[in-house]
Subunit: 157 residues, 2 copies
C-alpha cells in the first residue's frame, strides 16, 4: 500500500467512525507533513453548533496548532471527500502542497451532501447570488486598511 | 442613520481596533438578529495560528454559540470587507438572510489583501488548479456515507 492509500484509508476511517460518535456528518480529514500525521479533523457541525466545523477546517486548525504556524507549508491534506468551497478556500489560505481525496462531490451528493449549489453561487457575480449582498460604504470604510498600513505592530500574512 | 449604517460602522470599528490589538488583520464582522448583535468576530489568523480565523468565520461561530444553533436563520451578517471565498462558503452553510459589507474586494486588494486569485482557483475545474488535487478511491470510499444512511443516531443538517 503506498503512502497516499494508507493516509486516505485513515481519513475514511475517521469519517466512518464519526457517525456512531454522534459528533456530526460522515467526513474525516488529516494533515500530513514529512510522512507524519500533524492534524486530524472530523465533521462536528451539529455537536458543536458550528457550521464551519467541517473535517478539513478542523484538521487545518489542529495541524496549525501542532506546527505553531498559520501556514501548512509542505503538508498534504487527506480528506474522505472532495472539499466544499468553504474548505477549499481554507486550504488556499493554509497553502498545503497537495490535496488527496476519496469520494468525489458527485458521490457525496448521492448520500444527500450536495455542495454544487454553493460552488455555483460563489462563482456568480454577487448581484446574481441568492443570498443578497448589499454594499454600504460610509466615509471611513477604508480606515481599517489605513490603520493597518501605518501600523508598526502588524504581522503580515 | 439607518440600521445598516449603524451596524456597518460597528463592523468597521471592530476592524480598525483589531490592528493595534495585535490580533490579526484589519477585518471585523457582526451577526445581527432582529436588530440585536448576536455575534462578533475579528481576524485572528496570526495570533491564533489559524488560517480560518477570518472575521466572518469568527462572527458566525460566535453567533451560533449565542443562538445554540448551527444555522443563522433570519440573521444579517455585517462585514467590514466583502467576504473571501472561504467566508462566503461559510455564509452559505450558515444561511443568514443577507450580507452587508463596506470595503469591496478591489479596495482590500489596494491594501495588499487580494483574494481574487482564490476566487479564480475555486471556479476552475480541479485539474486546472495550482494546488494539485488527487483522487484516490479505495474500495471502501463510500463506507462513511453507507454508515450515515443506516445510522439512527444522526442529526441531519
Amino acid at each position: 500500500m503506498n503512502e497516499h492509500q494508507k493516509f486516505i484509508e485513515e481519513a475514511i476511517k475517521l469519517a466512518r467512525e464519526n457517525v456512531p460518535s454522534g459528533k456530526g456528518g460522515p467526513f474525516g480529514a488529516l494533515v500530513v507533513k514529512n510522512g507524519e500525521i500533524v492534524g486530524r479533523g472530523v465533521n462536528q457541525v451539529t455537536s458543536n453548533n458550528d457550521p464551519t466545523a467541517h473535517a478539513e477546517i478542523m484538521a487545518i486548525r489542529d495541524a496549525c496548532q501542532t506546527l505553531g504556524s498559520f501556514q501548512l507549508k509542505d503538508c498534504i491534506i487527506y480528506a474522505s471527500c472532495e472539499p466544499c468551497p468553504m474548505c477549499l478556500g481554507a486550504i488556499y489560505w493554509a497553502r498545503p502542497k497537495m490535496i488527496v481525496f476519496a469520494a468525489e462531490n458527485t458521490d457525496a451528493a448521492k448520500a444527500g451532501f450536495d455542495d454544487s449549489f454553493i460552488y455555483k453561487e460563489i462563482c456568480l457575480p454577487a448581484s446574481q447570488r441568492t443570498i443578497s449582498s448589499v454594499n454600504v460604504k460610509p466615509d471611513d470604510f477604508f480606515s481599517p486598511f489605513q490603520t493597518w498600513t501605518k501600523s508598526e505592530r502588524k504581522t503580515p500574512y
